[in-house]
């Protein structure tokens, strides 16, 4: 059960009635019908009430909303895209969609996680949980982008890396470790965007970048709230509580300096205006790429090092102070 979908129900009913009345009173001067005006006003009120401020748990559900734009929706908006497949060794992982792309005159390498829209696609794409072969495709294409001096754009949307037997047998840990390693000094600009869920190491594997951005209601966390609750309290049903603790919203992450900027979503979430949201995301990515394109490649890698080097909050025991912290 998606809490946002539940909360939307009444609102969608209201929306339907407004549309009916609008058709009914189509020949009247707009705003002259009292009933309609009242409904419209009420609609706006409820909308602001429901979506004006969202709890972390609600944001988790917004990020998982069944109508939320997925990576392939973003890719469909590009001027050109040619998908590149496979790790060259074992398998093509459909959870990772990647390839050459063009948008607004720019040539880039796009590397994305695709969860799938309907049941069939979800199964095909393993619900967007990449296998080691997926991460090895990523490493290959990072090297290719670097070779061709193409900037890299990643779109992140996964609950995490696949936790299955085969993935463990094929060294899932190594595949993520080597993805981090591949991005770390790639001599080309990298912009990572969390468009939905950014789940744990499986997300980070695509998010070592020069700029990390996210949609307002996306989430990005060290573990899924369910996973965190299971790890800490042995009870995954305490996920809502975990979500409160984890500081996984765009506001939190911008504050921590982990995310560089949050892209506003329409009231009610990205799916209320998918084309507009998608256009805004590409525009933002484009302008960040333009900035990064002006940085010399050596300096770029140096700045990437510094960006991550400074993340973390800790105390430093001053010299001469007592032994206990």
């Amino acid at each position: 059960m998606n809490v946002i979908v539940e909360r939307e129900k009444g609102l969608l009913e209201l929306e339907r009635r407004i549309k009916e009345l609008q058709v009914l009173f189509a020949d009247q001067i707009p705003g002259s019908n009292v009933e309609l005006s009242a409904l419209v006003e009420k609609y706006g009120e409820i909308q602001r009430e429901i979506f004006g401020t969202l709890t972390p748990w609600q944001r988790v559900h917004m990020a998982r909303h069944p109508n939320r734009p997925l990576a392939l929706d973003y890719i469909a908006a590009l001027d050109a895209f040619d998908e590149l497949h496979g790790d060259r060794h074992f398998r093509d992982d459909p959870a990772i969609v990647a390839g050459f792309a063009k948008f607004a005159g720019r040539r880039v390498m796009v590397i994305a996680q695709q969860k799938g829209r309907d049941v069939k696609e979800k199964v095909l794409r393993n619900f967007g949980m990449p296998s080691p072969e997926g991460y090895r495709k990523v490493q290959r294409l990072v090297a290719l982008a670097e070779h061709l001096c193409l900037p890299i754009v990643t779109l992140i949307d996964t609950s995490g890396a696949d936790p299955g037997i085969a993935s463990e047998e094929h060294a899932q840990g190594e595949s993520i470790a080597q993805s981090l390693y591949a991005f770390s000094t790639a001599r080309t600009p990298i912009v990572a965007t969390v468009i939905g869920e950014g789940g744990s190491g499986g997300a980070l594997a695509l998010a070592v970048a020069d700029r990390v951005i996210m949609l307002e209601h996306s989430v990005y966390s060290v573990a899924s709230p369910e996973g965190c609750a299971a790890i800490l309290w042995g009870d995954s049903s305490k996920a809502e509580e975990a979500a409160e603790h984890l500081k996984l919203t765009s506001d939190d992450l911008v504050r921590f300096g982990i995310v560089d900027l949050a892209i506003p979503e329409p009231l009610g979430g990205a799916h209320r205006d998918a084309p507009g949201t998608i256009a805004r995301v590409w525009e933002t990515i484009g302008s960040l790429l333009d900035d990064l394109g002006r940085v010399e490649r050596g300096a770029l890698v140096e700045q990437r090092y510094e960006k991550y080097r400074k993340i973390g909050e800790f105390a430093v025991r001053r010299a001469g102070s007592a032994d206990s912290p």
Binding site: A161, P163, G164, I165, S167, E168, E169, H170, A171, Q172, G173, E174, I176, A177, Q178, L180, Y181, S184, T185, S200, G201, L204, A205, A207, V208, Y220, S221, V222, A223, G227, C228, A230, I231, L232, W233, E241, H245, L246, K247, L248, D252, L253, F256, I258, R304, Y305, Y308, R309, I311, G312, E313, F314, A315, V316, R317, R318, A319, S324, P325
Partner: protein
């Protein structure tokens, strides 16, 4: 006993309460002093006990060990409170483990070869990786790079530390960058996986080394055993995610018994740093533009 270790030991409680230890695998009662002499390996069944970081270090270095990053101590960036506040959990583990955090880093020599050493300890918050583990390791790799000495890291970790949220996750990236910079300069990095090495540690510096050694029977994997069992709704075979399993599946270079570990590391260091590396690497970089 070298000075640094004597100082360290002074902080520990008298050992009378823990004179005898029961082997969790075969049940043999082991006299604590004998167990220590046997490098914490059961004399009956060869079960490798999890080791305290300083026990490992003192069994490895020739004499002196200069700790680094010891002044980097945990904060409470998320102001985390569940059953207990995070700082209270930290304090409890400090008392229990006589450690300030989940890793001890520093410099010493092994068989006369100068090395950087990072040793994780499962006794502190299950070896979880928070900001301090990340910061200490990054400092270690940066300093090792400056000194041009090889780096050996012992892993033991349940993964990222939840109570530091995304700041914990980002340490995977931070350490990766430091490892890469260290290796890109032509330095040697060796990892010894110990029981357990899972989650974010397995998905970062544990699998970025030149050579990956493991202790026997160590549990190594990305996803937790329970998570996988819940997902597939059946029990996993016993050897799943063991070091021996990973060796067969090609994920690690070798499984080495603790008794042979120091000699193995000595040979690896000899292979790796015997040559006058500084000169050859300089010439290598100089003509990279060919």
């Amino acid at each position: 006993m070298p000075d640094w270790l004597r100082l360290r030991r002074a902080e520990e409680p008298p050992v009378d309460a823990a004179q005898w230890t029961k082997c969790p695998k075969c049940g043999t009662m082991l006299y604590r002093r004998d167990l220590a002499a046997a490098l914490f390996v059961c004399s009956t069944c060869e079960y490798h006990f999890r080791m305290h970081a300083f026990d490992r270090i003192s069994g490895l270095v020739d004499g002196d060990f200069t700790e680094s990053g010891a002044d980097v101590l945990p904060g409470d960036p998320l102001a985390w409170v569940d059953k207990r506040p995070y700082p209270v959990k930290l304090e409890a583990d400090r008392v229990k483990s006589h450690l300030t955090e989940g890793i001890v880093c520093g410099f010493g020599t092994i068989g006369g070869i100068a090395v950087a050493l990072g040793v994780m300890d499962f006794n502190f918050r299950g070896g979880t990786m928070g900001t301090v583990v990340g910061e200490r390791l990054a400092l270690l790799f940066e300093e090792a790079r400056k000194r041009r000495v090889p780096c050996i890291v012992f892993t033991a970790s349940g993964g990222a530390r939840m109570e530091e949220g995304m700041l914990a996750l980002m340490q995977m990236a931070k350490i990766t960058l430091a490892v890469r910079r260290f290796r890109d300069d032509g330095n040697f990095y060796c990892v010894v996986l110990t029981d357990p090495t899972t989650g974010g540690v397995s998905a970062s510096f544990a699998f970025q080394a030149d050579v990956i050694v493991s202790e026997p029977k160590a549990a190594i994997g990305f996803a937790g055993r329970r998570v996988i069992e819940q997902t597939i709704r059946q029990k996993l075979p016993d050897n799943f995610q063991t070091a021996e399993f990973l060796l067969e599946r090609g994920a690690i270079d070798m499984v080495v018994k603790r008794a042979a570990l120091r000699d193995t590391l000595l040979r690896l260091l000899d292979y790796a740093v015997g040559e006058p590396r500084v000169a050859s690497h300089a010439s290598r970089n100089g003509s990279a533009a060919r």
